[in-house]
C-alpha cells in the first residue's frame, strides 16, 4: 500500500501486484494515487530507481495528514481484500 523508508520518507509503488492478487482494474490504483496526491499536494509515486526513497516525500511533510491518508489506505485495503482472485485464462 505504501512504503515508509528508514530515511524517513514515504512513497507508493508496485500497483501491478494489485492486479495479480485481486480482480480489480487499474482505475483503482489510479484513483488511489490521485487521492493521495490531493491530500499530500504532490505525487507520492516512487521516482524511477529510487527504491531507497532518497528523493521521496519526507514524513515530516505529512504531519497532520496521517488520518486522511489512512482513510484512503483503509478504503483500498478493504476493496482489495474483498475482491476475488483474478481468473486466469488457461489453455486447454
Amino acid at each position: 500500500m505504501f512504503v515508509v523508508t528508514r530515511r524517513g520518507t514515504f512513497y507508493v509503488r508496485s500497483f501491478s501486484r494489485w492486479l495479480e492478487a485481486a480482480a480489480v482494474g487499474p482505475e483503482l490504483s489510479a484513483r488511489y494515487l490521485q487521492d493521495l496526491r490531493t491530500i499530500i499536494g504532490k505525487s507520492p509515486q516512487m521516482a524511477s530507481g529510487d527504491a531507497a526513497g532518497r528523493r521521496a516525500i519526507k514524513l515530516a511533510e505529512l504531519v497532520g495528514k496521517e488520518s486522511r491518508i489512512l482513510e484512503i489506505v483503509a478504503g483500498v485495503i478493504l476493496i482489495l481484500r474483498d475482491s476475488p482472485a483474478p481468473e486466469i485464462k488457461g489453455g486447454e
Binding site: 500500500m1 505504501f2 515508509v4 528508514r6 530515511r7 524517513g8 514515504f10 480482480a23 527504491a51 531507497a52 519526507k58 514524513l59 515530516a60 505529512l62 504531519v63 496521517e66 488520518s67 491518508i69 489512512l70 489506505v73 483503509a74 485495503i77 478493504l78 481484500r81 474483498d82 475482491s83 476475488p84 483474478p86 481468473e87 485464462k89
Partner: protein
C-alpha cells in the same frame, strides 16, 4: 573485521553516510560501529558514558543446501548435493523489525517518527480487521461463466 569510530559526538551526516555505504557495498566483509563518548565531570569525579550511535553489521547469510536430481529415473547416484552460502542479491537491505525501522527514522517524539508510527499502526490495524462485508456463496451455475466474473456475490 570491526571498524569502531569513536568521537565526542556522532553527527547525523556520518550516520547517513554509513547507511549509504551499507546500500552501496552489500557484500563488504567489514562491520562498522559509531560510538559517541560522553564524559561528565564535577572536577573530582568523572562519569564516562559511551553510547552506540549506529551500527552496520554484516549482511546475514543463509546456508542453502541443494539436492539436484539430473537423471530421469531419480537414482541416487544421479543426484548432486551442494551447499553454499547465499548473500543478499540487492542492496544491504534486510528484513528489520518495525521498532528498528522507527528508531532509524528518528528519535521518539520526532515528527517523522510520529507520522511513521501513525501510518504503520493504522494500516496494520485495518489489515487485521475482520471482513466488513459478508460473502454469500452462490452455487455454480450450469451455464458457462464469463471470464472475470466473480465466483461469489455480495
Amino acid at each position: 573485521m570491526l571498524l569502531l569510530i569513536c568521537s565526542d559526538q556522532v553527527r547525523d551526516s556520518l550516520i547517513e553516510y554509513a547507511r549509504y555505504l551499507n546500500d552501496v557495498f552489500p557484500l563488504r566483509q567489514m562491520e562498522l560501529a559509531l560510538m559517541s563518548l560522553n564524559i561528565y565531570s564535577d572536577g573530582e569525579r568523572h562519569l564516562f558514558v559511551p553510547n552506540v550511535a549506529g551500527t552496520m553489521p554484516l549482511p546475514e547469510r543463509t546456508l542453502v543446501v541443494k539436492v539436484e536430481v539430473t537423471g530421469r529415473n531419480s537414482q541416487p547416484e544421479e543426484a548432486r548435493i551442494s551447499a553454499e552460502w547465499q548473500t543478499p542479491r540487492t542492496g544491504g537491505r534486510g528484513v528489520i523489525q518495525e521498532s528498528e525501522l522507527l528508531d532509524q527514522i528518528g528519535p521518539a517524539g520526532s515528527p517523522s517518527r510520529a507520522v511513521a508510527e501513525a501510518l504503520l499502526q493504522g494500516a496494520s490495524k485495518t489489515a487485521r480487521r475482520p471482513n466488513s462485508v459478508m460473502l454469500r456463496l452462490r452455487p455454480e451455475s450450469t451455464t458457462p461463466r464469463r471470464t472475470g466474473q466473480p465466483r461469489c456475490s455480495l
